[in-house]
Symmetry: C2
Subunit: 224 residues, 2 copies
DNA sequence: TCAAAAGTGTTAGATTTACACCCATGA
DNA sequence: TCATGGGTGTAAATCTAACACTTTTGA
């Protein structure tokens, strides 16, 4: 061992951008930083990489610590490593984004960590380079969503087509024609109509749909 | 200071995937690893991040060390951090890809570092997770090339349309119709015909073109 | 003279976009 | 009864993909 002894070591941390969809808006989970330096500043949730865990595991652990949820959709955004990015020490941080259904997030757990859902279009200034992380995560997620059906991770298992449309509008940042949207959904066989009706969002009631992963895997022809 | 003293530090390195285009093929610069562990294995070129440099600077430095060239097109691929990815020690590595014009690379410098251009479709097994880095870099570069005119970084300043087409074919992995290709090129105002003729690649001679960055910046309507 | 690469338009088909009205229901 | 969101099809415009022959010139 001692192969690389002549080189410097640095701290490596993970920061997670957790996306949620609520009230027709795309939101991010942020909180007040609980440690020095920067205590009290708005910040992403994060943690340091342990010597005995991979960075993906670290991100999954961090995510679970915060949300109590496992097997979330999670992707790496990239490494952020400007020398002076952290005001305290030299830290290279690796950003990940994750998608959760807001309703799956236990309220008491949320309060315990004192994090909040904030509209991505109205984020305050965040600690260190966290705003840049969010922007980059957002771009990556937008791209991904055009080419893979990951949007369902932000919705309950059952959802109406209007909910789904609002989600895609919020992520894409532009309105979508209702008829064209529904036409495309029909072409994709894996968004299945159930015979359940949602009576919450409208008087008339709207059909509830679900994402059928199995059908998708057999014929992954996604296109929005 | 001493804010994060309770957490573990790790080594952070950078590995560069250097793309070149030669003989109608997309190639990557690889060499035999010169240090333990893994001495002698095929490997990407890389280096450790110093305490006083950012990761992007480290990548640029590493790139310049190897090629003698500055201001290359370079993008981060992502962080690779499985616990056991390096057989010697815990090292988190950040991969970058770069594009160079093979002709700009000084031959003696190449030999000095004993690196070679190898067809991306015929790469040997590389050290650690370097094959995965190359695959991911390739995918990213392919995506980028659809949406930004970065291909020129792989060609000499003056090039023929056939060269350009071959490049896009090599990167995209499929043949392109010659007439459709040239039609699209004409629509993009920033690929300018010069009145120079290349007599090397054909008897008849082919017009040489150049990329006009200024025109592109004024009207970045790229689409291939 | 012939092999090899350069250069050039048109058309059918596929995809995308725009657009407006009726329906069911709870308040 | 009326305001609210649910649900449905068509036509024009745009974009994409397929396709073949003439030119030039060095060997």
């Amino acid at each position: 061992m001692n192969y690389y002894i002549e080189y410097a070591k640095v701290w490596v941390s993970v920061d997670v951008i957790i996306f949620g969809f609520d009230e027709g808006k795309l939101k991010v989970l942020i909180g007040r930083r609980q440690m020095d330096p920067g205590r009290g500043a708005w910040s992403l949730y994060g943690g340091f990489v342990n010597a005995n865990e991979g960075i993906d595991e670290c991100a999954a652990r961090t995510l679970q610590e915060l949300t109590g949820l496992k097997n979330l959709y999670m992707r790496q955004v990239g490494a952020f490593g400007a020398v002076d990015r952290d005001p305290g020490e030299r830290v290279v941080s690796i950003a990940y984004y994750a998608l959760i259904n807001v309703k799956d997030y236990d309220e008491s757990l949320r309060q315990e960590h004192s994090v909040e859902w904030v509209d991505i279009n109205h984020l305050p200034q965040l600690y260190s380079d966290h705003n840049a992380m969010v922007s980059q995560a957002m771009r990556m997620m937008q791209q991904k969503m055009k080419v893979e059906p990951i949007g369902f991770r932000l919705l309950p298992q059952l959802f109406t087509l209007t909910q789904l449309q609002r989600l895609y509008e919020a992520v894409g940042g532009q309105e979508i024609d209702k008829r064209n949207f529904r036409k495309r959904i029909k072409e994709m066989g894996f968004i299945e109509k159930t015979n359940l009706i949602d009576k919450v969002s409208s008087k008339r009631g709207a059909a509830l749909y679900r994402f059928n992963k199995k059908v998708y895997n057999e014929d992954p022809n996604f296109k929005l």
